[in-house]
């Protein structure tokens, strides 16, 4: 259930940076941020910064490199939150 909640939280962040022609419904677990959701690299940085604030974590360059899909992002968030404990 915690995972669902995180997905919703992430979706709320991502939807603010979607281009006009991509509907919110297009955001799925396996959506690729750049190739499928048409989010550019500048907005992907904004998403990461918002994710950091929302979850109280900090991402590094390596995390950014492997954050291709929504699922990747959720995995990184889960791992960072676990490391924090």
């Amino acid at each position: 259930m915690e995972d669902d909640h995180r997905f919703t939280q992430l979706k709320d962040i991502v939807k603010m940076y979607l281009p006009e022609d991509v509907p919110v419904g297009a955001i799925g677990m396996d959506s690729n941020f750049i190739k499928e959701l048409n989010i550019n690299s500048a907005n992907l940085v904004d998403i990461v910064l918002d994710v950091e604030d929302a979850f109280g974590i900090r991402l590094e360059n390596e995390d950014m490199d492997r954050m291709q899909t929504v699922r990747d992002a959720l995995n990184i968030i889960t791992q960072k939150l676990r490391d924090k404990k």
Partner: protein, 149 residues
């Protein structure tokens, strides 16, 4: 570490689209530079008919070249050392314009970094005229990264 002249030499612009004459100061989170608009800049011919005024987009460009690109070049060099090539792209601008800038005016751009992370640089910029009056202000962001060599 780059000295200010080296920063200008590394800029990917040239006449008639280089809008930086000098960098007065640069640090890890701020930069200040200036530019004098020449009498014969190409855009004065058409903006406006018979009444040359510097277009807002050019003021924005001047702010971006000094406040984002020059600062970005400096930050990249301190973080990653110097290499030959890099790419820049403006990704966002939100500007307000207070006063007109006429030919032969010297403007000073002051930029304060909001953040530089994952190759995105976001800054608060202000431009002043020779009388130290605020000409325009805004928030600019762009991507800057070394190209793989």
């Amino acid at each position: 570490m780059l000295v200010t002249n080296d920063i200008i030499k590394k800029l990917p612009y040239e006449d008639p689209f280089l809008f930086v004459d000098r960098i007065n100061m640069v640090s890890d989170n701020a930069i200040e530079g200036c530019y004098t608009f020449k009498k014969e800049e190409f855009f004065y011919k058409g903006h406006f008919k018979g009444h040359p005024v510097t277009p807002g987009v050019i003021l924005t460009e001047c702010c971006a070249q000094i406040g984002l690109v020059c600062l970005g070049i400096y930050l990249l060099s301190t973080e990653e050392g110097e290499t030959a090539g890099f790419q820049v792209a403006l990704s966002g601008s939100e500007m307000q314009f207070m006063l007109p800038v006429l030919p032969l005016e010297t403007v000073t751009v002051k930029s304060n970094m909001l953040f530089f992370r994952f190759n995105k640089l976001k800054c608060e910029v202000k431009m002043y005229n020779r009388q130290a009056q605020l000409v325009c202000r805004g928030v600019l962001s762009g991507m800057i990264r070394y190209t793989n060599t």
